[in-house]
Structure formats: C-alpha cells, structure tokens
C-alpha cells in the first residue's frame, strides 16, 4: 500500500513537467479595455482604460497583450500574432509595441508585410494597397530576445462594426 501511494506524486510531477514544456516559458495574456473619461473632484478630466465586458457598435476596444518570460532561458525569435477579432476592424495606426517590428496580414494570416507594403490581391488578378479595414492579423516581431523575467507588451485598437 505504501509503495502504491508513493507512485502517484511521481506521476503528477511528470505530468506537470510535460505541461510546462508544452506551454513553453512565455506567459501571454490578452486584456480588452475601453477608454473612459473620469472627472476628478477638482473637475479635471482624464482618460483611463477600464476593463470591458460589453460594447456597442461604433465603440473602440483597446487590446493589450503582455508576454513574460517565466522560464530560465532567453526566448529568441518572439513573434506575437493577433487576429483582428471578428465583427471589428483595426483602427489605423493604433498598433504599438516597444522594441517590435510591426507587420500586418490582409489574407487571413497567410502572408505578412509592413503596412506600407501590404497588398490585397483580387480574385481577378488585380492588386491594390491594403487599407486598415482589410487587415486580418496584427503581428509584433520582437527585435531582441526576451530574457528570463522580462515582460514586454503590445497594444492595438479595434472598432466594433
């Protein structure tokens, strides 16, 4: 009986280890917020971001993605890809990520390019420059490795259609 009990913690430990390796060593979190105007006691107004649970058509949603290296080793070639949520459109010029290169896709994530180089290929062979409403994905490519313990963030805004 004693032997049998000892096996279970071992098994759990090995399960936990495999889960950790599957998850890698970056913890990534997406937060949806909306801007709110707050009036202070002295009457001054300021804009703050407040967590959003519900929205209306025409409203803007601010998405912030934070990624933290929770492992023991540096993470290289970090690429953060965000589909533009369904029923929303990307707000031109809103994507921002310190220390990242910014790329977009207008073809469902098959190809990515900088905003000024992104094209839309029509089924009839026509080619035109992509507009922000064409964007399907926003990608942030970290220029440097993410060292253990380091946290980076990226942000973009969308408009509810």
């Amino acid at each position: 009986m004693k032997k049998f009990i000892a096996i279970i913690p071992l098994l759990l430990a090995s399960l936990a280890a495999s889960a950790a390796s599957q998850q890698g060593s970056i913890l990534v979190k997406t937060v949806a917020e909306q801007e709110q105007t707050v009036t202070a006691a002295n009457g001054s107004k300021s804009t703050v971001l407040a967590p959003a649970k519900s929205v209306l058509p025409g409203h803007e949603v601010v998405y912030t993605v934070t990624f933290e290296n929770i492992g023991q080793e540096a993470a290289k070639d970090v690429v953060v890809t965000n589909p533009v949520p369904e029923h929303t459109r990307y707000q031109a010029g809103s994507a921002f990520g310190p220390g990242t290169e910014l790329l977009f896709s207008a073809d469902g994530g098959r190809s990515f390019a900088a905003a000024d180089a992104l094209e839309v290929h029509g089924t009839d062979g026509s080619v035109r420059a992509a507009e922000p409403e064409d964007y399907t994905h926003i990608r942030f490519v970290l220029k440097n490795s993410l060292t253990p313990g380091a946290v980076a963030f990226a942000r973009y805004r969308t408009l509810v259609k």
């Binding site: 990534v28 979190k29 937060v31 949806a32 209306l56 990624f67 953060v80 890809t81 949520p85």
Partner: protein
Amino acid sequence: MMQSDERGRYAAPVRVRVRHRSAALPTLLALVLTAFAGVAHAATTPAGTVIQASAEVSFVVGTQAVTVRSNAPTLTVNQLVDVAAGALMVAVPVQPAEASLSVAFRVVNTGNAPETLRLQLTTAVAGNLFDALPHPPALYLDSDASGTLTGADAPYAPGGNDPVLAAGASVVVFALVDVPAGLADGTRGRLELSARVEQASGAPGTIFPGAGSGGVDAIAGLSGGVAQAGTDLIVSGVDVALVKRATVVDSAGGSAAQSGARIDYDIVVQVSGRSSVHGLVIADPIPASTRYVPASLQLDGVSLSDAADSDAGTFLATAAQVQVSLGDQPAGATHHVHFSVLIN
C-alpha cells in the same frame, strides 16, 4: 404631387426651387427628395454577438520552437437602440380643400436588433399657419411596399400593429390628411411623424439593464430611441413633378455600378396645376463617391456649358451640384435634364 423614380445606390436628391410671383411675399420652396432608398447601411454587429480576441506567441528556446496562446477575453455586444425618420419630401405642394392627401415618411431602425416602434402623427405643430386635418385613421403602413398608398396598405393602430423592424430595416408610413379650404398661396402647415421605441427610449446613453435581445443591456443611442420627421404642406396653385432615372454603364459595356462606371441621369420635370411657376431652378447634388463628367449637362437634348454664363445650366464645383434654371414655366410644360457622373 412630386414623384421620384430613383434607381440604384447612386440615386441623388434633386432639389427644385419655385418662385411664386402670385404670393404676397416671394416664396422660395425647397423641395427635396431624399434618396433614402439605396443608402446602404454598413452591417452593424447584431446585439448579443460575442467578440473574442486572443494572441498567439511563437518563440525559440535553445533549439526548440514553441507556440503558446493567450487567454481569449470576450466582449458581448449590447443592444443599440436607435431609430431615424425622414419625410420623403421636405415640402409638399397642396391645394386648398385638397382631400385625402397622402404624405410619405420613412422610418429606419438604425440600431443592431429588432425594435417595435410606436408611431404618432402631429398636425398641430407650433408655427403652423394652418393645421392639416387627419383623415382617420391618419396613418398607414406601406404593407405592399409599393411606395404609394394603396388599398392593400394596413391602417395603423397604435399598440395594435406597431411595426417591428429588423436591424437596418425600414418601413414607409403614409399620413393621410385633408387640407382646409380658403387658404392663400404660400400658406404653410407642417406635419410631423414620430417613431418611438417604447421599451427603451431615453436620453442618449441611458442603459436599460437586461432589456436587450437575449438579455443583453439595451442602450439608447444618439436618437434616444425616438425619431421625428416633418414635412411642410405648402399651398400652391402649381405643381412640379420630378422623375429621375439612372442608367449605369461600366467600362465592359455592362451595367455594374463599379469604380470607373458612368451613371447617366435623366430628370424629367413636369409642371401641372392651374397656374405658372416662376423662377424654377432644378438643383441636383452629385452623389457621394462620384464625380461630374465635364460638359455632360443637357437640357432637352441641347448641351449646356458648365460655367455660370448666359445659358441655363451650371455645374457648381464648390457645391458639387448641377443647376438648371428653367425660369417661368406654364402648367403642362415638360423638360428633360441630363448629366453624367463617374463612380470613383
């Protein structure tokens, strides 16, 4: 009565100005046909829709490539309560003692969920020189979607057959009124139609918790859930009818309303009634997303120059509209105005 036959999404409002010499004061009538038909509403996200976002992160640790996903915060789309209304004509020329005059309004649900609308006609409007007399039951719904009042159209009973409009949908409502006798030319009487979302109308931004479809919050939009539209009945012994037709010619010889395609507009102007109209001016704004084809303006098949000069026609680039001055026109006169635009 003024009529319009506008086709296609590039139908533009036509404006007619009539100057009455017979009236005590020179009267300027602005008759505007609002091109409600064909105004494409951008698809609004329906109430109750759940919007999800998540990020995917890929990276390399040592030699191992790893991909992880973030959580996916969800947002529920609330119910936007918004309604708009417009008179199909800003002003309606009427005759004294005219009976059973129908005046058309259009009510549009500009929100993102179905709404039940309560309609009300007001004939006693502040500032009126005469009040039209509602001809019971006063309001009719355009049940057969013909755009004119017919025997198939249902009389409206408040609370009985309040129209239920899907998001983006609209309904034409007719007011049926009589004009009092003994009115002088130029006398004005205003009619107003209001459409109200009974369940959720209030100051813009008012929240009605859980009142939306599927239990989401309903929120009063900029209209506050109430729309009002008015039209002036103007007593006049003369009537100008406009019929506008649009023909689309694309570069392939077809009729697709695509970029680069040309739209030929033909406006038929008909004067009827008992007297003459003085200083008749047809003004037609170029539709949004199109540009005027230089030197395309014609009156009765004769080309008119675009410049403001001795001929009747002008293209006003600053106002983006064509204008044709027809001057004095007797009842029975008919004229054709033609011009073309290109779709940008």
